[in-house]
């Protein structure tokens, strides 16, 4: 298998487009939530200004090697998740590095960022960061379980582990999407999606009204800027995986933007209505409601 060097600029271009889209989309969602609350909210370009400010801080405190590597792991998890799945189906320029078996790699990268952050936050030595990490890891583990079951069900259904093949099998009309051919798997995966987007009712980990901001308590200046870049990139990358597996993929950039926006709004619609769960309540919720759906999906396939 030879490596084509032209893929590197294409991958960087995809990364550039998706990071900008993520920064603007996050601000747009905040603005929609603000307008619903009868106020104006942040400007659309506020995320860029925050990033420039954080990169431009003159001093920073480090707590050791793992503290420094925490945001690096998190950002590499986001970048890896994006680059190893096909972003635009059928386009040679934007298929990135997807290959047969990249479904398992996508599952790995979804969890990798949280682990990196756990190690970094533990080294920071702040007790609030430690509490935030125990909450975050337990919640993400419980939320990952129905997603893994749904992924197995989809892989069994399409008899392949390559995301490109799964997207190819869903072309040719809306009724071919997995959401209509395998609804239990998609239901389990969407419930898990609510958990991993870290919005209410599952945002006890990162909410500023809880322990001061949880795992990123000690992170500041460039470290925080790296994590904010990841926070713009990682949800989009995860939604790209969801879109490819369950909603038919995207064959062009406008459809990509529209589908990502709509799937993101699913978590926002749920988020603005419900209050927060405690961690044990959310774990119990996943185990009672989402995991049986995933098990039914695997059994029925």
């Amino acid at each position: 298998m030879e490596f084509e060097w032209i893929k590197i600029p294409y991958a960087l271009l995809t990364l550039f487009i998706v990071v900008n889209f993520g920064l603007i989309l996050t601000a747009l969602i905040a603005k929609i939530a603000a307008r619903v609350g009868r106020r104006h909210g942040i400007p659309i370009y506020q995320n860029y200004i925050d990033l420039i400010k954080n990169y431009g801080l003159r001093s920073s405190i480090t707590h050791g090697v793992m503290f420094y590597l925490g945001p690096v792991f998190r950002l590499s998890g986001g970048v890896g998740l994006l680059l190893f799945v096909p972003t635009i189906f059928g386009s040679e320029m934007f298929s990135n590095f997807s290959f047969a078996g990249d479904l398992i790699l996508a599952l790995y990268f979804v969890f990798f960022g949280t682990l990196g952050m756990a190690l970094g936050a533990a080294e920071s030595g702040h007790p609030y960061a430690a509490i935030g990490i125990t909450r975050g890891l337990s919640q993400v583990t419980a939320a990952e379980l129905p997603f893994a079951l749904a992924v197995f069900a989809v892989a069994l259904q399409y008899q392949t582990l390559s995301i490109t093949d799964i997207v190819a099998a869903q072309q040719g009309g809306m009724m071919n999407w997995t959401v209509f051919t395998n609804p239990f798997a998609v239901a389990a995966a969407m419930l898990s999606f609510l958990g991993s987007m870290m919005r209410p009712p599952f945002d006890v980990v990162l909410a500023p009204q809880e322990i001061p901001i949880g795992p990123p308590t000690e992170y500041h200046s460039s470290y925080l800027a790296l994590m904010q870049t990841n926070r713009a990139l990682f949800p989009i990358a995860k939604i790209v995986v969801y879109m490819n597996l369950f909603f038919g993929g995207a064959a062009s950039w406008p459809i990509f933007f529209l589908k990502v926006f709509l799937i993101y709004m699913v978590s926002v619609f749920v988020g603005v209505v419900f209050p927060r769960f405690r961690v044990e309540q959310s774990i119990r919720w996943f185990l009672i409601w989402a995991v049986p759906l995933g098990i039914i999906a695997v059994v029925l396939v």
Binding site: G41, P43, I49, D50, K53, G56, S60, P208, E218
Partner: protein, 213 residues
């Protein structure tokens, strides 16, 4: 000083006894240094513009003026459209609003929070108590001039100023930052001994390191 901060002999988990002096061993003893601006003027102007448009306030209401900060988070006054956010931890904040009177007890905690913030950082004094002692001008327990203990960039007068006055104050602070004149952290590092002597004169139960990194 608290008992856990005294010098003592500790027995480790493997049975070896060693002496620990918490004030020296657990904290960094280096004084703050002056951090110069970026090497090129156009880069520093860009950074100052970004710092002014994205002010992150430390969520620490030190006095009665905090009641005027809270309405800014509500839809009526909405400080978020000016780029102002509240952060719960001093590591991520770059503006510290001393809202109202500052008792010596709060001054010790305010110093601890201020020194943990990263350079460049700004201090705004809210209300007349920070200027000349205000209503508590003859109290034994409050400080009368904030400028002697922390470097202040802007004062917002009033007792208490209305939230609209705070918003106007933030706009003036943005002008000060964009002009490059808000170098409070570097002033603090340059006149560190003077500030520290003033602080230790009023705080009698000092049990922190000299600079809380």
């Amino acid at each position: 000083m608290k008992e856990e901060l005294q010098k003592r002999i500790v027995k480790g988990p493997d049975g070896i006894e060693f002496e620990v002096e918490p004030m020296r061993d657990y904290f960094c003893e280096a004084p703050p240094t002056v951090m110069p601006a970026a090497y090129s003027k156009i880069v520093e102007n860009l950074f100052n513009w970004a710092r002014s448009e994205s002010i992150w306030i430390l969520g620490f209401g030190t006095g009665c003026g905090a009641i005027e900060m809270r309405p800014l988070m509500t839809p009526r006054f909405d400080a978020y459209r000016y780029g102002v956010q509240w952060r719960p931890t001093p590591r991520q904040a770059n503006l510290f609003v001393i809202s109202g009177y500052l008792s010596t007890k709060t001054l010790k905690r305010a110093i601890r929070a201020y020194e943990q913030m990263q350079n460049p950082k700004y201090v705004v004094g809210l209300g007349s108590c920070t200027i000349n002692g205000g209503m508590y001008w003859d109290s034994y327990n409050t400080i009368k001039r904030l400028d002697q203990y922390l470097p202040v960039d802007l004062y917002i007068t009033g007792c208490m100023p209305r939230p609209e006055a705070l918003l106007q104050g933030f706009e003036d602070l943005k002008k000060v930052i964009k002009a490059g004149k808000a170098e409070g952290a570097n002033d603090y590092a340059e006149n560190f001994e003077w500030y520290k002597a003033n602080q230790k004169q009023v705080i009698h139960d000092w049990d922190m390191p000299d600079y809380n990194w």
